[in-house]
């Protein structure tokens, strides 16, 4: 090793090390070709994708939350073997619910919270990148609409939630108000946004009006609810879109409730006597006719086991409103507006107008019109018709639990001792520095 003692050798060695280190600096840099960086997402090319992500993420979260919302309500019950789903189905979940596993009860609520977070961060990105032109950009409208819709669905489903990304805990009523305010603020922004097609602007206006109708109904501002509901044209529908093309886009309502897939929830047993198992529909409670809005599959051939859920025990009827993993879920539609009008009229004591509004929907699907009750407690009878129509029209769309909650019907429909809404997830509680352990005070128990 004497040659290492030579000056030349030492210099050569040092040079080799320097070259190696320089080379190593590059060699330690690797690319991730399957995701974008934060900086890349600021590029003009990707901004439309950011906006699409904001709205799409919200839309896709709807099927998941609608399953849980439905199982907590009288729409669905659990027919599988997952104990946490069964606890939701039995209404056993509570504030600060102890968990065996982080995945328990959480995915649906967290997905909705994440959707709002994604929409909020998208809006911030547009403001940072587009600067002064942000608020006239349709992209900004898209992300802000998604954020406000997320607020609305969080309030419909979860009794308490952070007011914003990483924000403090607030009640559902605060979030309903926040959603109403957000949509109201969006109306002029939509009007001024630089849409290439007028129809695109009109679509957004219709969506915002429909959202305002629902949000104001929940807030209790019935005049505004009526006003915005009436502004929505007939034939309007705003769907959450799904696809069978990727797992991310799958509609969980079909994936777990339709007989073609898994069979982990089905229509709750209290409706079973009303089902026409031969033709596969829920019978209309008033007329006894099959209601085309409520297709329910039932395979009496036990060979495929479809008459029982995936637990092999519980009676199962396929939710045929959603037949494929790509079936859309209505976020809002004219039929809902008609029911909001009906509800406002009912609250105003204008029962004939309420019945008339409901009959618009029934006529459209070929069902006999409701007649105005003339004896007994007319108000309660009209309310029951309204709730029956809301059940059918909004079946599996994530609104039923809120209806039972606000009309104080949880005990009557499902019994005592049940959670009246979904709680906030432990994930958000424990990771959000503005919330923390033990701060949750709801849901109320029936």
């Amino acid at each position: 090793m004497h040659f290492l003692k030579s000056r030349a050798a030492r210099w050569a060695g040092a040079a080799a090390v320097v070259v190696a280190m320089a080379g190593c600096r590059d060699i330690l840099t690797v690319d991730n070709p399957q995701a974008f960086t934060n900086e890349a997402a600021n590029s003009a090319v990707l901004l439309p994708a950011v906006a699409a992500g904001a709205e799409g993420d919200f839309q896709i979260s709807l099927s998941n939350i609608s399953v849980f919302n439905g199982m907590l309500s009288d729409e669905f019950w659990h027919t599988g073997t997952w104990s946490d789903w069964l606890d939701v189905s039995k209404g056993l979940i509570r504030a600060n619910w102890p968990i065996n596993n982080a995945n328990s009860f959480m995915s649906a609520q967290n997905q909705l919270l994440r959707a709002r977070g994604a929409a909020s961060s998208a809006s911030l990105r547009f403001e940072n990148v587009l600067k002064d032109s942000a608020h006239t950009s349709p992209l900004f409208v898209t992300s802000q609409m998604a954020r406000a819709w997320s607020d609305l669905y969080i309030a419909l489903s979860i009794c308490q939630a952070p007011v914003s990304s990483g924000g403090a805990l607030v009640s559902d009523s605060v979030l309903f108000k926040q959603a109403a305010d957000s949509f109201a603020a969006l109306l002029p922004i939509i009007q001024n946004a630089h849409y290439a097609k007028a129809s695109d602007r009109q679509d957004r206006l219709n969506q915002a009006n429909a959202a305002l109708a629902r949000a104001n109904l929940m807030v209790g501002d019935y005049a505004k609810a009526l006003q915005y509901a009436q502004a929505v044209p007939q034939g309007f529908v705003y769907n959450a879109q799904f696809s069978s093309n990727s797992g991310f886009q799958n509609n969980l309502l079909a994936g777990q409730g339709n007989a073609n897939y898994n069979r982990s929830f089905s229509i709750r047993g209290l409706w079973h006597a009303q089902i026409d198992t031969l033709n596969g529909f829920l019978r209309d409670a008033s007329s006894g006719q099959d209601d085309p809005r409520m297709p329910l599959g039932h395979d009496n051939n036990n060979a495929k086991g479809y008459d029982r859920g995936s637990d092999g025990v519980t009676k199962f009827f396929s939710i045929n409103k959603y037949t494929s993993l790509g079936s859309p879920v209505a976020i809002t539609k004219t039929a809902e507006m008609n029911l909001i009008i009906a509800e406002v009229r009912w609250r105003q004591g204008n029962f004939p107008a309420a019945i008339a509004a409901m009959n618009v929907n029934r006529t459209a699907v070929g069902l006999p019109s409701f007649a105005l009750p003339v004896t007994g407690d007319v108000s309660t009878q009209v309310r029951d018709l309204l709730l029956q129509e809301r059940f059918v029209v909004l079946f599996g769309e994530g609104q039923r639990m809120q209806d039972l909650y606000r009309f104080k019907l949880v005990t009557e429909r499902l019994g005592a001792g049940r959670a009246t809404k979904l709680p906030l997830t432990r994930t958000e509680q424990l990771s959000n520095p503005n919330i923390g352990e033990g701060k949750e005070t709801c849901p109320a128990i029936s």
């Binding site: 991730n32 995701a35 950011v50 997905q111 799958n250 007989a259 073609n260 897939y261 495929k304 092999g312």
Partner: protein, 981 residues
């Protein structure tokens, strides 16, 4: 002090002089032949039995010359410099022996050596993580050595994991289910990370190899049904041909594995394959195996046949119908030999194993070529090349709607029909049996090592190598099957590919010199790096128009998926081993690493080490029963790099609005993310008693990780899908391990050896950086003060008597999930007696595990699905529900089953018979052994499960995944004939 003119003491040379020296080095091979040489021939025998000893390493002390004995104990060494020399004979399990010889020029000399059996391993030479070859007596860090050749004789195996079972204290190797070809849990000294994989890094002849468990579910973009065959998947460790392995070295933890840097905190396993013997004629070894697999009939369907379904179909008991005898066959041929300057080892093998639960089989073919060329006394080349084809027809198992035994066990027998005779609730067994799910892997592992020793004091070793894996997977659901529970309608076909490669380059220089005061010194320095890529691709076809077609393109909906990972690491190392006389040795060293997975703001990482070994044997004050004793202590640090892209903040491209491109927040990233650093303090002793008839190796250790990567949950309301990896956690492993090897009785015709290995481990989370609600990849909570993977669950608290609305009563659970216990055993014991009586060798391996708990997911599922022997035994006449059965269902709907994994397992019983030479010599055969063996024969537990080691997620997730729709480890029965000629 060395008085001769060592290279370090030579006078400074001129440039011309150096050129002359270089030229001399280059022509050295030519000049060697000009020297006067002779031949050494000899025989090595077992001093106890007098029997010849094969596979014994022979060397001439002070040179690189070497040979191995054949089965008759013969060896020959040519080209030995004439004059006095010392022959050294060494073999695992025996004390080395030296014999002085005088080598005549142009003639030969004969020498005989008798090796004394020894239960002490201090004389073994190890090379892994030591900065060059070194005797264990000089090491302060714990290294386990497995004599794979010996294990293969008493326990014929088809995979590496089986060889390692119960062989090294502190190392756990056990099958976790999934049928033939399924994954194993392989780990050393417990768990040293919250989130990163727990497998030791594995090298084969200095080349890093693939041991990954592939996450196919996520890699398929969640577009195809579940994972291919449940969570267990295939285990690439099983690709290696066990018959090719000579021995295995195991670095137990950070203190021993420091020189491996940012990949070594889980320990390092280095496999050394066989090589040819110098100066020997071609020696063939032929190994033929046959036998069968047959599962233990302990599935929970024994009562099924007492029930009939609505159409009158009598329910089936899967113990009677699905457990079959799966045939096994194996063929392996190897030839090795060598001439004066070169040796070769060539092998080829084929095995086919059919599982007991079918369809499930594995076919494996291996070929290997190992060459050694001693270009000169100073320069040696080793070249190794191995190719494997491993085809697995996988069992549908493990947390999988299409699990075969899962459906058979979870069906309500009262719902049995002609088409669903087990009352299958999800998918009929008949339809599952029509699913094909295969893995076809082609793998090449090879490399070369050049060893240049310009002087006796200076050795350079340069190794390059690669492990390249190409795996094709296919799964096919026929169009006319009812697979709705698995979200498959009208059939589905998935073709997937995995291309994995890792390239290793390693340089190590070792310089021996003397310091003042007679201190010996060995300085090692070098660099090591690897370059690893993995690409997973998948093509998925859904919905066939009708039966009879099976290609992806033929489906009406087609999808694709791709996943890519890339990691690069480079490191430099330096260490010095000091020898203070012949008793006291100490090593100091450091490794410095950079890794592409570190955050861009992190930089390089340093890992220091220090160890001390003090040999006390020979001191007069030692009791006479102590024949050898080494005290040792080591402290060292090793790391574990984070996931390849964990430091990146990313936005995930997805499709929304039914196929419009979109971006959503994915990972918050962390630019300061670095490796986890484990610092281990290990102290212990290696001792021999009663003339080294009893060997004891004992260690106590404490491993601390102060910057463990905590998956910090970002509030969902902030939008990110994934957690943020932060180096803010802490955990500690405190444990001990001990190996006892006792040569109980040694005579020429009878010997009895006993091997006992035990270890105890306590793992505890010391910090989560102030974060609450941290969970592992499986959603299990991680809490300070409890072990990683601790089993928490809601436990029963009270019971409310039945009411009309709750006729089975109401169970109330605890307010929070309570702690049951750790998920890994806290105590392991293995006992392996070996009795040799004349030509017969009886060997067995018994293991005991205690302390582990698990979520026994199958048990409550069976109640929820109104099935299983436990539930069915509660039913009334005619299969009517009873209060007891309803109450049990009610209970198990409320609670998970948390059971203990404690078990005693009879892993192996084998009987080997040496066929007498009078029979073999007639056919020209050499040593011939027939071995009858049975593996995983029986286990005793109280887990209410099929197998207490079951883990649906397979591989290194044992501590996290519970038992769910898994299958017991295969139970195998083998007969093997091994002969040499």
């Amino acid at each position: 002090m060395t008085t001769g003119p060592t290279p370090l003491q030579r006078p400074r040379r001129s440039g011309v002089g150096r050129a002359t020296l270089l030229a001399a080095l280059l022509v050295a091979p030519l000049s060697v032949h000009a020297q006067q040489t002779g031949i050494v021939v000899g025989t090595v025998t077992d001093a106890g039995s007098g029997q010849p000893l094969g596979n014994t390493a022979i060397g001439i002390v002070g040179t690189r010359m070497g040979a191995n004995t054949d089965d008759r104990g013969h060896f020959i060494l040519r080209g030995v410099r004439s004059g006095p020399a010392t022959v050294r004979a060494q073999r695992l399990g025996f004390r080395p022996a030296l014999a002085p010889v005088a080598v005549p020029a142009g003639d030969s000399v004969r020498v005989s050596l008798a090796l004394q059996a020894s239960a002490v391993t201090l004389s073994e030479i190890v090379t892994t993580g030591t900065g060059g070859a070194v005797s264990k007596r000089e090491l302060g860090a714990p290294i386990g050595v497995v004599d794979a050749s010996r294990i293969s004789e008493v326990k014929p195996s088809t995979d590496l994991g089986s060889i390692l079972e119960g062989q090294v204290s502190g190392m756990r190797s056990t099958t976790v289910g999934g049928g033939v070809g399924g994954a194993k849990d392989l780990r050393v000294r417990g768990t040293s990370s919250f989130t990163l994989n727990q497998r030791p890094v594995v090298y084969v002849d200095g080349v890093r190899v693939d041991t990954r468990a592939t996450d196919w579910t996520a890699s398929l973009g969640n577009q195809a049904c579940c994972s291919f065959n449940g969570g267990t998947g295939e285990d690439r460790l099983s690709d290696l041909n066990p018959d090719d392995i000579d021995h295995i070295e195991v670095l137990k933890g950070a203190a021993a594995a420091t020189l491996y840097g940012s990949e070594a905190s889980n320990g390092v396993i280095q496999v050394f394959t066989k090589h040819g013997k110098q100066e020997s004629a071609p020696q063939w070894t032929l190994t033929l195996g046959t036998g069968f697999d047959r599962q233990r009939p302990n599935y929970q369907t024994h009562l099924n046949s007492q029930f009939a379904g609505p159409d009158g179909t009598r329910a089936l008991d899967m113990n009677q119908t699905l457990i079959k005898t799966g045939p096994f066959q194996s063929y392996n041929a190897e030839v090795q030999g060598g001439a004066g300057k070169a040796t070769y080892f060539v092998s080829g093998g084929y095995s086919k194993e059919v599982g007991s639960i079918q369809p499930n089989d594995q076919s494996k073919g291996n070929v290997r070529l190992n060459l050694n060329w001693q270009a000169s006394n100073k320069l040696t080349f080793d070249v190794r090349s191995a190719f494997t084809r491993d085809y697995i027809n996988a069992l549908q198992s493990g947390n999988n709607w299409a699990s075969l035994t899962g459906n058979a066990q979870n069906g309500d027998p009262r719902q049995a029909t002609k088409l669903r005779p087990y009352g299958e609730a999800w998918i009929s067994v008949a339809d599952i049996e029509r699913i094909t799910s295969t893995s076809d892997a082609n793998r090449w592992t090879g490399g070369g090592t050049a060893t240049f020793q310009p002087t006796a004091a200076f050795t350079n070793r340069f190794t390059v190598g690669a492990d390249v894996v190409g795996e094709q997977k296919q799964r096919f659901f026929p169009q006319d099957g009812a697979y709705g529970s698995a979200s498959v309608n009208n059939g589905e076909k998935t073709n997937a590919g995995r291309n994995y490669s890792v390239y290793t380059a390693d340089y190590l220089g070792t310089l021996n010199f003397h310091l003042p005061l007679g201190i010996g010194s060995t300085f090692s320095f070098g660099g090591q790096g690897f370059y690893e890529t993995e690409v997973l691709t998948a093509a998925i076809g859904k919905q066939f128009a009708g039966p009879g077609i099976s290609t992806v393109t033929a489906a009406s909906q087609t999808f694709g998926a791709e996943r890519y990972t890339h990691a690069v690491q480079i490191g430099a190392l330096a260490q010095n081993r000091f020898a203070f006389g012949d008793r006291l040795f100490s090593t100091v060293g450091v490794r410095i690493d950079g890794n592409s997975a570190f955050g861009s703001g992190f930089g390089y990482q340093r890992y220091p080490k220090l160890d001390v070994a003090y040999n006390l044997d020979g001191y007069g004050w030692l009791p006479s029963l102590v024949s050898s004793l080494k005290l040792r202590a080591a402290v060292g640090t090793a790391g574990k790099a984070p996931g390849p892209f964990d430091s990146f903040q990313t936005y995930q491209p997805v499709a929304v609005y039914a196929n419009t491109p979109a971006l959503i927040p994915q990972s918050p990233g962390n630019l300061k993310l670095g490796p986890e650093k484990s610092t281990e303090i290990d102290a212990g002793f290696d001792a021999g008693f009663f003339g080294d008839r009893l060997g004891v190796e004992a260690s106590v250790y404490r491993t601390t990780v102060n910057n463990a990567i905590v998956p910090v949950t970002v509030p969902p309301s902030q939008g990110f899908l994934r957690t943020q990896a932060q180096n803010i956690g802490g955990l500690r492993n405190t444990g001990w391990d001990i190996s006892l090897s006792l040569l109980t009785y040694e005579r020429s015709s009878f010997s009895w050896r006993n091997e006992v290995r035990m270890d105890g481990l306590k793992n505890v989370v010391t910090s989560l950086g102030g974060n609450a609600g941290v969970v592992d990849a499986f959603g299990n909570p991680i809490r300070v003060g409890y072990p990683v993977g601790a089993v928490f669950a809601i436990a029963p608290k009270s019971y409310i008597a039945p009411t009309p609305s709750a006729p089975s009563g109401t169970w109330i659970g605890t307010d929070t999930a309570v702690y049951f216990g750790p998920s890994l055993p806290t105590f392991n014991l293995s006992y392996a007696p070996s009795i040799k009586w004349g030509p017969m060798t009886l060997y067995s391996l018994l293991t005991l595990e205690r302390g582990a708990w698990f979520n026994n997911g199958d048990r409550p599922y069976r109640f929820r699905q109104h099935t299983g022997d436990e539930f069915l035994s509660l039913l009334g006449a005619g299969g009517a529900d009873t209060f007891a059965s309803d109450s049990a269902v009610n209970y198990w709907h409320t609670f998970n089953a948390i059971d203990q994994r404690d078990n005693v397992r009879l892993r192996t019983v084998s009987l080997g018979v040496d066929v007498p030479e009078r029979f073999t010599s007639r056919t020209g055969l050499g040593r011939t052994v027939v071995t009858l063996s049975a593996n995983n024969i029986m286990w005793w537990d109280h887990c209410h499960c099929n197998d207490p080691n079951s883990n649906w997620a397979g591989a290194d997730s044992f501590g996290n995944g519970g038992a769910f729709l898994t299958d017991p480890s295969p139970r195998t029965f083998r007969m093997t004939l091994r002969t040499r000629f």
